[in-house]
Amino acid sequence: METAIQRNVVKGDELLVVEDVKKYFPITRGIIFQKQVGSVMAVDGVNFTIKQGETLGIVGESGCGKSTLARCIVRLLDTTDGKITFEGRDITKLSRAAMRPIRREMTMIFQDPYASLNPRKRVGFIIGEPLEVHKLGTPAEVKSRVQELLEVVGLNPEHYNRFPHEFSGGQRQRIGVARALAVNPKLIVCDEPVSALDVSVQAQILNLLKDLQDDFGLTYIFIAHDLNVVRHISDRVLVMYLGKVVEIATRDMLYREPKHPYTGALLSAVPIANPELGRKREPIVLEGDVPSPVNPPSACHFHPRCPRFVEGHCDVDEPPLYSFGNGHVAACHYPLERWPMGADEIRRAGAPVQAPPPREEVPAG
């Protein structure tokens, strides 16, 4: 049986392979005869892989396509182009019925714990619903499983009959986690799971997610805009800008030696909770806003805001994902030589990367 083979996947194997995935949303005009006048290139050719048991963090500013990418991976949205392989099986074009057993293997945790739980259903039903959908067990079995799940995420099993409004924000997010865990998934896509929470509660949820990963061998895709949180939870980090990957590296490499100026600017923009250290450093402040994905800038999308923009190169020639060893890739012709860098220093672009290596189809981790 297929599932039997799938269960044999050992840690270290590729669980998910995303190849050149694109998602364009059409912009239409007209009421009756709608014609397409353009498209929003929300995700524009993204490649990455995730190994089993690993956490991949995805960071970027709002509108960079991180949530769209997450929704494409779990097939809540159909991709425009590209291929998503889950456990060696191409799931990009599967029908809804064929997708259903796979939905047991990958679930999602959403950002807003207030909006993602049905206010008119009891907690027991909310957490048990995935089990019913997949016909896993009798009502009695479902109930005991739900109570077990409540305990796993740190809630009282007696809360089974309560409604979501009786819980605080942090507790609701725990319910969201329990629901995602119900069907024993392999991959959980967390879309900004802690952004709406206070710091002390955020720490509780982050610790919970880490514990669950250790206990159940889960794989996470963790989307957030908070670089501190991503650093804390991730093994590898992917940085997105305007629908494209600008850098992928292991957590330590990315935070210690970022190569892409955008990653550098993001890192230096994070306020440090240490006044002494904060006064010493000189943040690189990016001017302007993220451009529109309807009409992105030519070649390197970052060039209009880039402190090391070289005219005639960056705006003409799109940088491929250059490799810097150990799976560290960055899409920049003039990568950062060192880190940290001052605001003046970063403006002096060094020599461009010589003889670009052939573009790696799937940058391996």
Partner: protein
């Protein structure tokens, strides 16, 4: 004389379920050119403190006591007309969500001109020139063209700049910023914080910044108030707060913060939830979540008193100072070690 002096401010709201004490005995003062930060989690009373000072709470259901002396005049007993004179002129406010605080059916030029004309007897032409000047000062590109745009035509960061321009248009002496960057991305946040710092240098206004982000406080404030469940638990300079924190709640906040510079396997979490203000716990309000809880904490409210080493450093905790210094040192060692190394 301090610009604004708040003494023993208390605010409670009458609700269907009973009286909620949202602010319980807050005192502070702000001097000209100074930045004061108020940190706390949601529901700790930091926003209500500012709304009370500005007289923006619903009048019918709010009971306030204490004093908020603005240049010697008590704002809490001022008439609505007098408050209107002060609001937007001497004291102005930036709110968290720029989309809901700008009027969507008027262009921003009109809203900025209105702000000027409410307080100054000037022509539209003069007011518009002033609006344009401010839009340029806050760094809105092509200000001449964009002044006639509507709020929805601006991005989040740009809208927040418009809000700042509107707040500064009458040269306020005090700017109250309620979570000014919470809805923004890090890069935009850095732009806005930089802008506020620069404008403070240029205009010399005092800033009262409310935030839940310890990083933002560390980068902007001179003095800090830490609030928990409607009360101040610690009040000191920013260097003291981060260098020698004296309250278990402050330790909890710092420990639960994931940091860019440091590796920790597990974050120290504060167990439990913040208490309901309808029925706050007796004694120290933090005691049900405090890892250092003692018998006295459950019955006696700790007073906000200076530490022995520093009379400017106020804290409200029954623990003895030696233990606290030891705990603070432990915490700092855990969080700072990697910073020194890198």
């Amino acid at each position: 004389m301090a610009l604004l002096e708040v003494k023993d401010l208390r605010t409670s709201f009458q609700t269907e379920d009973g009286v909620v004490g949202a602010v319980d005995g807050v005192s502070f003062s702000i001097e000209k050119g100074q930045t004061l930060g108020i940190v706390g989690e949601s529901g700790s009373g930091k926003s209500v403190t500012c709304l009370t000072i500005m007289g923006l709470n619903p009048r019918r259901t709010t009971i306030s006591s204490g004093e908020a002396l603005w240049k010697g005049k008590n704002l809490l007993t001022a008439k609505p007309g007098e408050l209107r004179e002060i609001r937007g002129d001497d004291i102005s406010m930036i709110f968290q969500d720029p989309m809901t605080s700008l009027n969507p059916v008027h262009n921003i030029g009109k809203q900025l001109i209105e702000a000027v004309q409410l307080h100054r007897d000037v022509s539209v032409k003069v007011a518009r020139a002033r609006a344009l000047e401010l839009l340029k000062a806050v760094g809105i590109p092509h200000a001449e063209r964009r002044i006639d745009d509507y709020p929805h035509q601006f991005s989040g960061g740009m809208r927040q700049r418009v809000m700042i321009a509107m707040a500064l248009i009458n040269d306020p002496d005090l700017l109250i910023a309620d979570e000014p960057t919470t809805a923004l991305d890090v890069t935009t946040q850095a732009q806005i914080l930089n802008l506020m710092k620069r404008l403070q240098e240029d205009f010399g206004s005092a800033i009262l910044i409310i935030t839940h982000d310890l990083g933002v406080v560390a980068e902007t404030a001179d003095d800090v108030l830490v609030m928990y469940a409607a009360r101040v638990v610690e009040q000191t300079s920013v260097d003291q707060l981060f260098g020698r924190p004296q309250h278990p709640y402050t330790w909890g906040l710092m420990g639960s913060l994931p940091r860019l510079e440091t590796d920790v396997e597990r974050l120290t979490q504060i167990p439990g939830q913040p208490p309901s203000l309808l029925r706050p716990p007796a004694g120290c309000r933090f005691h049900p979540r405090c890892p250092h809880v003692m018998e006295i904490c459950k019955t006696t409210v700790p007073e906000l008193v200076p530490t022995q080493k520093d009379p400017e450093h106020l804290q409200a905790c029954h623990l003895d100072e030696e233990t606290k210094d030891r705990e603070a040192a432990k915490l700092l060692e855990a969080t700072m070690a990697a910073e020194v190394a890198s």
